[in-house]
Symmetry: C2
Subunit: 114 residues, 2 copies
């Protein structure tokens, strides 16, 4: 890996931070509006410490920022452009699903065209 430029490392860190279902859920929730830890925890349904750690991963990557206000800490999305990734990701998933169906058809399954 020595030939790989550190720039790839930095970029990969951002994608890695996004590469977890809970964190993706958080990102989407924050794209709608800023939210505090408790609110996210309730939506997600796991331990608050787990959610807190996911938030710290996202914050460390620079994807979210936090701001203390009143009795809570509100998290918000730094760069909403990350939500634009979803369209392309869905394209990949759709392509995968089509490939799967082609394979199934090859095996004799009767599946109508998309």
């Amino acid at each position: 890996m020595e030939k790989i430029h550190p720039q790839y490392e930095a970029r990969a860190n951002i994608l890695k931070a996004m590469g977890h279902p809970t964190r993706l859920f958080i990102i989407e929730a924050l794209d709608e509006k800023e939210r505090c830890v408790g609110e996210l925890t309730e939506k997600i349904g796991s331990d608050v410490s787990t959610v807190s750690k996911h938030l710290s991963v996202l914050k460390n990557a620079g994807l979210v920022r936090d701001e203390k206000r009143g009795t809570s800490i509100f998290y918000s999305l730094c760069c909403p452009c990350v939500m634009d990734f979803i369209g392309c990701i869905e394209t990949v998933l759709k392509t995968n699903a089509e490939k799967q169906m082609d394979i199934a058809r090859c095996c004799g399954a009767k599946i109508p065209e998309a």
Copy 2:
């Protein structure tokens, strides 16, 4: 994590597959043109088995496809739209760098404005 929809899992898998410097390097190289394992291995400089495994991660995620031709197996990018992520990722990184400089300035360091 029970409340998280499986769709988030699927999306996260794609991002996770992209979240490694070597794999990001491979994606970029394949965006330019299709390449065989040996060629990628030489560019990357790690063991060919390591590169092969990275390629299988990418293939499994549906990000690349492989095609045997002649004596080699050529890999190519399934959805070039993933390269569009880079612009936003660079925005995140730039924002992070600016934040860092603000912090440095707060500590008394003399750094010119960007």
